[in-house]
């Protein structure tokens, strides 16, 4: 099936002073997918998202829904909702004032849906955003975002600092209330375990470079975890894995599924395993 791209990026480079935050990024993001943007802290995830929206000056070409983005254009937000850290809501407004403000400036606001979501939450309209807990702020952010009829949703570490319950609830709500096959969600996170089940595609970013963009199921078929007793460590080392992990008298590594190692236990890798294998970690080659 040929899918139309919602975002097309060519030669995207971004410097902060002399530091190269994005290095010649080339990527095409198809419509109707849930995509995870995974990278270490400082890998360039937030910079990438902010460049896409025109918030940062950059070199290279960006197209969103067919429109070139050179600098920040407010019209882009007619079709794209962006949730950065949930703490970015305006603390000085109340819940109702926030809703009234967003509804008045967004032509795609669905008031019926907003009222439904408000009724199902325990948000009090007259409560100041400053007095909301982080979990409640998340609910408010979700409420105002899900009440907008946009085609692309960009989430930049949206659940940072939230406890596990709210993190799960956040992603379940996004999936249940927002996603359909015409909509695209890009989630930047390093808490990959919670989104692994909902993602369809994955993008690995490291040191400002896109090192992988792949369908998750395909990716998981390509790699397997091979586990052998510690005294057979060399069997793994022969295949040059980036990381060999030690666990209870055994060692394991992510290797190409086609590899054959006698007496090795083979299991399916998680996204974290694949990420560590591709990007490496602090305990690389130990």
């Amino acid at each position: 099936m040929i899918q139309k791209n919602v975002i097309k990026v060519s030669n995207l480079t971004k410097y902060y002073g002399k530091f190269k935050a994005l290095d010649n990024v080339e990527i095409e993001i198809p419509a109707g997918r849930i995509i995870g943007l995974l990278g270490k802290n400082g890998a360039g995830k937030s910079t990438f998202m902010r460049c896409i929206l025109g918030f940062l000056k950059h070199k290279g070409e960006i197209e969103i829904l067919g429109n070139p983005i050179r600098r920040h254009q407010e019209s882009v937000h007619e079709n794209i909702a962006f949730i950065p850290d949930v703490n970015s809501l305006d603390d000085r407004l109340t819940v109702k004032q926030t809703m009234d403000y967003v509804s008045a400036i967004n032509s795609s606001w669905n008031n019926t849906k907003a009222m439904e979501l408000l009724a199902s939450s325990d948000l009090k309209p007259q409560q100041k955003v400053a007095n909301l807990s982080k979990g409640m702020k998340t609910k408010l952010y979700l409420l105002i975002t899900l009440s907008l009829d946009v085609t692309v949703l960009l989430l930049d570490e949206p659940t940072l600092g939230l406890d596990i319950v709210f993190r799960k609830e956040f992603f379940n709500t996004i999936l249940g209330e927002f996603y359909d096959e015409n909509k695209t969600i890009i989630i930047s996170t390093h808490q990959v375990e919670e989104v692994e089940q909902i993602l369809q595609d994955i993008i690995f970013i490291d040191e400002g470079k896109i090192i992988l963009q792949e369908d998750i199921d395909e990716l998981k078929k390509q790699y397997s975890i091979f586990t052998v007793p510690s005294d057979q460590r060399e069997k793994l080392e022969q295949h040059n894995p980036k990381i060999i992990s030690n666990t209870l008298g055994k060692v394991s590594a992510v290797l190409d599924s086609k590899v054959e190692i006698a007496e090795a236990q083979v299991s399916r890798p998680t996204l974290s395993d694949l990420f560590l294998e591709m990007v490496g970690g602090s305990n690389e080659k130990i």
């Binding site: 902010r50 920040h72 950065p84 809501l89």
Partner: protein, 282 residues
């Protein structure tokens, strides 16, 4: 227009408390006067007699003079609050960590900037005007009791005083708004420090090198300097008060300086918005 209205409402909601402070200060003054009067009355020290006003020259022009004089302090307070609001106009969202939220809305940056500019300046004008109306009513009542109230003279005094401060407010507010586009913290003080610094540098260079560099502070003071209703003294008598008021209108409003002030304010707003627009949002 619906979007701009929403922005104005939002900015008013955010700054409501700050905009109300001049009103509360004025209310506090009135309360204090009432309290002092009540205490003096109860202790038998209150010997005020409305008839005392009689014979105080100039008897009719007091309508004009008192309405001007009473707006002095509220006018200065209004200027201070214009500075407070405009110096944070383009930075407050960054400090509040909500810049990304506001910039991620489908609304023009010009609308956003204009809304903050209007609330910072016109919001304070509105507060000043409210105080002026209240003061006018109080003075009208006092003068009416003594049969001295003349509406035309009184309203001229009030209007000229308010307009003078409005004009000073727009230029100071625009300068501070411009500074807020350049400096992210304590914009007014930083802007002032640079202007004063350049002023001293130019004075020294002019003295040492025999140059004639223009002094920025002088231009700004000239621009801010509104021909306030001044020059009144005890010689001002009822016969020439009407002439004086007419002449004051010319000095305060109908002149080239007013046009220059509006023009410079517009240029400062546009420049500030362009700088704000070009900022990266990290």
């Amino acid at each position: 227009m619906k979007k701009f209205k929403a922005l104005l409402i939002k900015d008013l909601q955010i700054n409501k408390k700050t905009l109300m402070i001049p009103l509360w200060i004025t209310a506090g003054f009135y309360l204090l006067i009432l309290l002092i009067s009540a205490v003096a009355y109860l202790s038998g020290d209150l010997n005020f007699n409305f008839a005392d006003i009689q014979g105080t020259p100039p008897s009719e022009s007091i309508n004009y003079i008192v309405n001007i004089a009473i707006m002095g302090l509220p006018g200065l307070i209004s200027l201070i609050f214009i500075i407070i609001l405009t110096q944070g106009a383009l930075n407050e969202n960054i400090r509040n960590n909500s810049e990304l939220f506001h910039r991620s809305q489908p609304v023009s940056i010009w609308y956003q900037s204009a809304s903050r500019y209007i609330v910072g300046i016109a919001g304070n004008w509105l507060a000043l005007f409210t105080i002026a109306i209240f003061n006018f009513i109080v003075i009208a009542i006092i003068l009416a009791v003594t049969d001295k109230f003349i509406f035309g003279l009184a309203i001229s005094g009030m209007a000229q005083s308010v307009i003078s401060f409005m004009k000073t407010g727009i230029i100071i507010g625009s300068l501070t708004f411009f500074c807020s586009a350049i400096f992210k913290d304590k914009a007014f003080l930083q802007g002032l420090a640079i202007i004063v610094g350049v002023q001293f540098l130019f004075i020294i260079l002019n003295a040492l090198m025999q140059w004639h560099l223009p002094l920025p502070l002088n231009y700004i003071i000239k621009l801010i300097n509104v021909a306030t209703p001044s020059g009144m003294d005890n010689e001002l008598v009822n016969e020439n008060i009407v002439y004086y008021i007419r002449e004051a209108w010319m000095r305060i409003v109908i002149n080239w300086n007013t046009l220059l002030q509006i023009g410079v304010s517009g240029v400062l707003f546009v420049t500030a918005t362009l700088i704000y627009k070009s900022r990266e949002i990290k």
